[in-house]
């Protein structure tokens, strides 16, 4: 499934890209340096915008030809119309939001479909860390508890519940290993990254 064209793309992004239909209108929330949008534009003929709050990666987006809007996701989505996008991506960004529910509702408003990923707090090394009395520090959660941009910690089941509440139905849910390969056996335990493909109900 992961073809040569994905070579430059981070493993989890490469996996997620195959869920985006060619030619889609895409909004990538927390687009970083625009790698995903560039891939979607060049190889899948998608169009759309990235939203990124951090200064540093903006010039890279520009060089890549990605339309990027520097905004806080939590206040900046008002500029997008209802149902303006086929797919809204929110990859490894939701856990940094203060008001996750409001952001998810906004995603539901502006998009038809959404792909959301976040670190799976129920990944087994995290469970062991907690059992031994410490907050987990891992590849997917690499920060100490007192110095982390992550504000929210959720498991796959937790997220399913919230998605349902804001009007999204789960089309697919996959948990990925650190190297981006999907896990079928005990995904709630063995995956470090939870990835949901959702559709407006």
């Amino acid at each position: 499934m992961i073809t040569e064209r994905f070579a430059g793309l981070r493993a989890d992004l490469a996996f997620i890209a195959h869920w985006v239909a060619p030619g889609s209108r895409v909004l990538d929330l927390g687009c970083g340096d625009g790698a995903m949008m560039e891939y979607l534009q060049v190889d899948k003929h998608c169009s759309g915008y990235g939203v990124e709050i951090d200064d540093a990666p903006i010039p890279r987006c520009v060089q890549r030809g990605v339309s990027v809007i520097q905004q806080d996701i939590e206040s900046g989505l008002a500029m997008f119309s209802d149902a303006a996008f086929d797919t809204v991506l929110c990859l490894s960004a939701l856990q940094m939001m203060k008001n996750v529910e409001a952001v998810l509702r906004d995603i539901t408003r502006v998009g038809q479909e959404a792909i959301v990923s976040f670190p799976n707090f129920a990944h087994w090394p995290h469970r062991i860390a907690l059992l031994s009395g410490r907050m987990p520090v891992s590849d997917s959660l690499p920060y100490a508890w007192y110095d982390t941009p992550n504000l929210r910690f959720a498991t796959i089941s937790d997220f399913e519940e919230l998605a349902d509440e804001v009007g999204l139905s789960v089309l697919e849910c996959v948990s990925l290993k650190d190297d981006g390969t999907p896990i079928t056996f005990l995904p709630e335990w063995r995956g470090s990254l939870a990835v949901f493909r959702l559709r407006k109900k």
């Binding site: 169009s47 200064d55 903006i58 010039p59 060089q63 339309s67 990027v68 809007i69 900046g76 303006a84």
Partner: protein, 375 residues
């Protein structure tokens, strides 16, 4: 450059027989695809970059942005700075002779708008043989001109760079402009704009206009950090001279400005600012006003700019997004208020540099393509 054909203005008036002063930097390439027009704001001119021979202190107003190896790299691009009509830096303005009367225009110089300036700039482009600009760029009032280009000449501008600007002034902005105008208009030396004939200049009015303008270009924090409540002397003077450093600074800025700037020009340019509102003809719908644009956009705003606040840039972004335009919007968290657009900030410079890098890639890519086709 002299233009004999009158320019029809938005007001209905005609500007007969006028001259535009301009400067260029870099080389126009063979297919004339690397031209960039830089539009000036209130108190600037065609002297965008570099210094004149023998005048090392007269540095171009955007010299940190434009020049060899700078974000707008004149080793690659052919950059044009043009002085707008009505200004006081060489192009036809109120201090020049009105051919109809043989006297200086003074206050009878027709009120010009941003759109009028853009039409004048387009004529200059025609004369220079430039059909399409690789980019038109401006900050503040200059950004309004760049934006206006995309609406008036959609196929003649490939990229539009709008820095610290707005699609229209707010009531507060117009209010500041009118205070400035009143200061000039009520100066006894104004003589209804014909002060040239009286051999005087409404210096006090200009000073006050500049002082109030200058306050709005800085942020509260920036002013607090630069000046605080620092005293000029050691103690209060208990009078109306200069007590505080900020007073000294503003008065100095006002004095300096009143020596080189023309009062009628100040009136004209603040009116051009006030009138700019391209959405007005579309019932306030900016997205509709921008529907025919073809350019790609870079918009930059600065978080502490309360004169042309980030909200105003976001309005433009939203209107462009509604039209599916390709754009980059950078909101730079800089402390210097509106003035930030003229200052060095690596984040700001990097994003503008990256944008021109992209434009350059397109130009050279296209040349390579056409070479390939020719081969």
């Amino acid at each position: 450059m002299h233009f004999a054909e009158p320019l029809a203005l938005q007001s209905g008036a005609l500007l007969a027989d006028y001259t535009l002063v301009y400067e260029t930097y870099g080389q126009l390439n063979a297919d004339k695809s690397n031209a960039v027009l830089v539009c000036h704001a209130l108190n600037a001119s065609h002297h965008v970059a570099g210094v004149y021979e023998g005048q090392p202190k007269n540095v171009g107003w955007w010299d940190n942005m434009v020049g060899p190896g700078k974000p707008l790299d004149t080793d690659r691009f052919f950059v044009i700075g043009v002085n707008n009509p009505g200004s006081c830096f060489g192009s036809t303005g109120p201090m020049h002779t009105n051919p109809a009367t043989g006297k200086p225009y003074g206050a009878s110089f027709p009120v010009v708008t941003v759109e009028d300036w853009v039409h004048a700039q387009a004529r200059l482009a025609d004369a220079l043989g430039i059909r399409q600009f690789a980019a038109v760029m401006g900050g503040s009032l200059g950004g309004m001109q760049a934006l206006s280009w995309t609406m008036l000449y959609p196929d003649r501008i490939a990229n539009c760079l709008v820095i610290a600007s707005t699609p229209k002034l707010t009531a507060q902005n117009i209010a500041f402009n009118d205070v400035a105008r009143q200061a000039i208009l009520t100066d006894p030396d104004f003589h209804d704009g014909d002060y040239y004939a009286h051999g005087v200049v409404p210096r006090n009015g200009l000073r006050v206009a500049r002082m109030i303008g200058h306050i709005t270009y800085l942020s509260d924090d920036d002013m607090a950090e630069k000046f605080g409540r620092d005293l000029r002397g050691t103690d209060y003077q208990f009078g109306y001279g200069i007590d505080f450093e900020i007073e000294s600074y503003l008065r100095y800025q006002g004095d300096k400005f009143s020596e080189y700037f023309d009062a009628n020009t100040y009136l004209l340019i603040t009116k051009a600012l006030d009138y700019f509102d391209p959405a007005r003809a579309f019932n306030g719908d900016l997205a509709a006003a921008l529907a025919n644009t073809q350019a790609e956009f870079l918009l930059v705003s600065f978080t502490t700019d309360w004169r042309f606040a980030p909200e105003r840039s976001r309005e433009m972004v939203q209107a462009l997004v509604r039209n599916d335009r390709r754009l980059t919007y950078a909101e730079i968290d800089a402390p210097h208020g509106h003035d930030a657009f003229l200052l060095d900030d690596p984040r700001y410079m990097n994003v503008v540099g990256a944008y021109y890098e992209k434009i350059w890639g397109r130009i050279t890519g296209r040349q390579n393509d056409s070479h390939r086709k020719a081969a």
